[in-house]
Amino acid sequence: MSGAPPSSPGIFERALTVPRPRAGELALTEELGPRGRRSVLVSAIVSLGLVVMAGVWIYQRLGAPTRLYPKGQFEPALWEPFKHSETWHGLWNGLQQTLSAAAVGIICSLIIGVLMAALRHGTGRTPIALVLAGAAAVVLVLLGAAWLRGTNPIEAFTIKWWGYAMAGAIVALLVGLPRYMSTAYVEFFRACALVLLIASPFRFFGVQPWWSVVFGLTLYYSTTIAEVTRSALRSLPKGQTEAGLAVGLTPSQTMTMVLLPQAIRRALPNLLTQTASLLKDTSLGFIVTFSDLLSISQRLAKANDNYLPSLIVCAAIYITVIGIINFTANRLQRTQR
């Protein structure tokens, strides 16, 4: 009997079935049988129902009149401020601060992190050119940021002389003892609370808030990026190094031309997680009076006495931005393969 092909699943059914692995992907799941499909369907419906119930309950609780908000927190009047352009202007300013600090922070973290990973993975002999190129790149990025922000870089970097002495000492030690120093750097700054790293430049060196946030984020996230990159380096087959050396590349050429490109590709999903996380952590800048998106939202909320609507708008902006990052990241990864 020939007959029609088995009926293709409807939209609802398709949404509920475990996706089949794409070609080249390994999935732990096998295709479900009839009993499995039924239980997936039942549990999906039950949990969806629970989520809807929870949502309704939260909405009613928050919308219920209280002493502070006699008409509930979803009262249309509380959304009124979002009709005015000044509100959006303020939020836009905050978003700019958040995004610019995050962008400069992630660029510097990537440069320093990848460099640290390379030093720690290497032979123990310093690729001096690589270290100097990394340091120069970071300085250039910071100078560029100063220029874009219209701050006098000398003013922006008003670090006390011992701050410069410390930075110089770190570079010098990196050149002299690459493995120990990169390990020490990573272990030390990774163990520091991020709040402390953001607050210190502001408190002890008199650095301006935006710069303080960038320095703090860079110190911390360069260590997590170093570890992510290093684990990717370690996951590469030993044969890649040997092939590079056998062709006649020097160890540092092998690192930059053979190992790092592959390691960064492998680390990409983790690096993007770090990027999103860094972006959100700019909000810790409130401790150094940094006017980022969250602190501006809170200021607006206080002024307009509409905490819930303000924070919902603020959250929506964060979610949108991070959604855009994730989306482009996924696109990027797919085209890479």
Binding site: V247, Q253, P261
Partner: protein, 251 residues
């Protein structure tokens, strides 16, 4: 007068010893490899034959003895070592093509970054080499998209692109499916016919008979027997060689 006399051996291995911890993997190795000669190294696994091969371009270090290539002792490090490695082609058991580069780029990388050849020249040369090993059609694909045999032929082209003085083959066919062994051996035979100096660690006795001028039999980290293939296979002089051959030769 600085030129080494042309009858001097291209690779001279003298009194080489190597330990992995307590394990004495190479014991007093003496071996000369002449220009244009094909030397096949055979022996049971763990006999040190791969290690010996890897010592020649210093992927493994030795604890005593000397290795000289074209009159120059193996440098210990730095640019000199990299330059020497550029003159010694190596083909690995597991191919080790650069996974993030296309077949063509794999062959171009060394000449461009090590020899300073221009991109156009490197590409021209790479395409010619790929044609010689029979993979022209795959030039723009990535290693993962090729069969083992094709990858290994690419690896040979990559090594040849450096115009090496000597080629080392470290079990080049051991990781291949049986039907792909011959395509790689054919390329190697062709290379031997062109007068390339080759050191080949292999289990392919047919290749040893056809291409080798000398067969080196290793066991327990020692050179047990060095002889022309006919003599070695027909009339081995040592018990260890006889024992090994009786285990691997067809009944």
């Amino acid at each position: 007068m600085d030129l080494p006399p042309s009858n001097e051996a291209l690779v001279q291995i003298r009194g080489v010893n190597k330990w992995f911890g307590q394990n004495h993997v190479l014991t007093d190795i003496d071996l000369d490899i002449n220009r244009g000669e094909v030397v096949v190294v055979i022996g049971p696994s763990g006999s040190g034959k791969s290690t010996l091969c890897r010592c020649i371009n210093r992927l493994e270090t030795i604890q005593s003895g000397t290795i000289t290539i074209d009159g120059v002792p193996l440098p210990a490090e730095g640019k000199e070592l990299a330059r020497l490695r550029a003159d010694v082609g190596m083909v690995f058991q597991s191919f080790n093509l650069f996974a993030h580069k296309t077949i063509l780029e794999n062959v171009m990388l060394g000449p461009m970054k090590v020899r300073g050849v221009s991109k156009t020249d490197a590409e021209f040369q790479a395409r010619a080499l790929l044609e010689r090993v029979g993979i022209t059609a795959k030039a723009d694909q990535y290693p993962a998209e090729l069969s083992g045999g094709q990858q290994q032929r690419t690896a040979i082209a990559r090594a040849l692109a450096m115009k090496p003085k000597v080629m080392l083959f470290d079990e080049p066919t051991s990781a291949l499916d049986p039907e792909m062994v011959n395509e790689v051996l054919d390329v190697m035979l062709q290379l031997a016919g062109l007068g390339m100096t080759m050191v080949v660690v292999t289990h392919e006795m047919g290749f040893a008979r056809k291409a080798a001028q000398r067969v080196v039999f290793m066991d327990g980290g020692q050179l047990v027997e060095v002889a022309p293939p006919d003599q070695f296979f027909e009339n081995p002089q040592t018990d260890r060689a006889r024992g090994f051959l009786s285990k691997i030769l067809p009944h």
